[in-house]
Symmetry: C2
Subunit: 165 residues, 2 copies
DNA sequence: TCCCTTCCATTAGCCGGCTAATCGAGATAA
DNA sequence: TTATCTCGATTAGCCGGCTAATGGAAGGGA
């Protein structure tokens, strides 16, 4: 079927992403921050005291994933959970002073890496790159939607026998 | 420090990557294949019976990670470990018949998603995209190298070994 | 009032990634 | 020959992602 994965653009993209993550990790670990946490920290500096569900949605992660992550960060003293006064069902997340300091350092790191990543990109290069990524994003989102509605239909009438998973 | 993470290209890139992974996962799970396994399967179809260390290097993953993954895949009947006849220290990894079938299906899926990703890319778009990604890759690799040698110096030794965490 | 549903948070259990530590076979030097 | 070193594989333990199941508070309807 002549598909060479090694030469696929998605393969290159994956590789670049992993390399990016690795670099971030190398530079933030000294601040006691772990590789999945920077996006969350960024959202928290934008607005403190958000509820977990909202944060999860913003970070594009499942609420369960976020909950565990916050538990770890709370143990590390970076954030703090406080129940909402009006609604005992939700808990709001706040940055501690330590968390604020760490976030500042992490932000510098992210900025530095971003600059290095695109040091040899012209302004137009960046615009083109963004546009292409956005196009890819939109089509992937569409594909995801197609597959999910398809799966839902399959679950309605009869059971799809899935021995493995 | 005027750095807006939400608008950073790396942020968009991360998002696209995750979306890609998610789509792959949706379509391969029916074949009993998990999201980290496709790259390994692709390498195995290229050449059967490689040793774990070599495979790990090709998939850009630590040997320990690969070892666990192969353990799971072996349990699932996709691959088979056989010790090398000449060197009992290494174990070679082979696709089973079931693994070959699954790989074929996975390859179709990857191809289909690749096509969807870039359906609205002209040939030139793709060439430009590849070139930009490659540039990013090279600079990230350079940055990684700088940070790792830096870390080594900080640890006092001047060994040629990799910088450990 | 009581039941039932809905919603957020949490827990459990899995896979994918990592590092550090250990084991066992080869290779090498004393 | 023996002691040591090297190297691949493995194991243990952690973080980051997911789904499924559980729990508890709000809210709505009979």
């Amino acid at each position: 079927m002549e598909f060479n994965y090694s030469e696929a653009l998605t393969h290159l993209l994956s590789h670049v992403y992993r390399l990016y993550r690795h670099n971030v990790d190398l530079l933030i670990q000294e601040y006691g921050v772990y590789p999945g946490q920077p996006p969350l920290l960024m959202r928290l500096t934008e607005q403190d005291g958000q509820i977990q569900k909202e944060l999860a949605s913003k970070v594009h992660v499942q609420p369960a994933t976020l909950n565990v992550m916050i538990g770890r960060m709370e143990k590390a003293g970076l954030v703090e959970r406080r129940p909402d006064a009006d609604n005992y069902r939700v808990s709001r997340v706040y940055l501690t002073e330590k968390g604020r300091l760490a976030t500042s350092a992490v932000k510098s790191v992210l900025k530095e890496i971003e600059e290095r990543c695109f040091a040899r990109f012209s302004a137009e290069d960046k615009a083109v790159f963004r546009q292409l990524l956005q196009r890819m994003h939109d089509d992937l989102r569409q594909l995801k939607h197609e597959n999910e509605t398809l799966t839902m239909k399959g679950q309605g009438g009869e059971q799809t026998y899935d021995a493995k998973r």
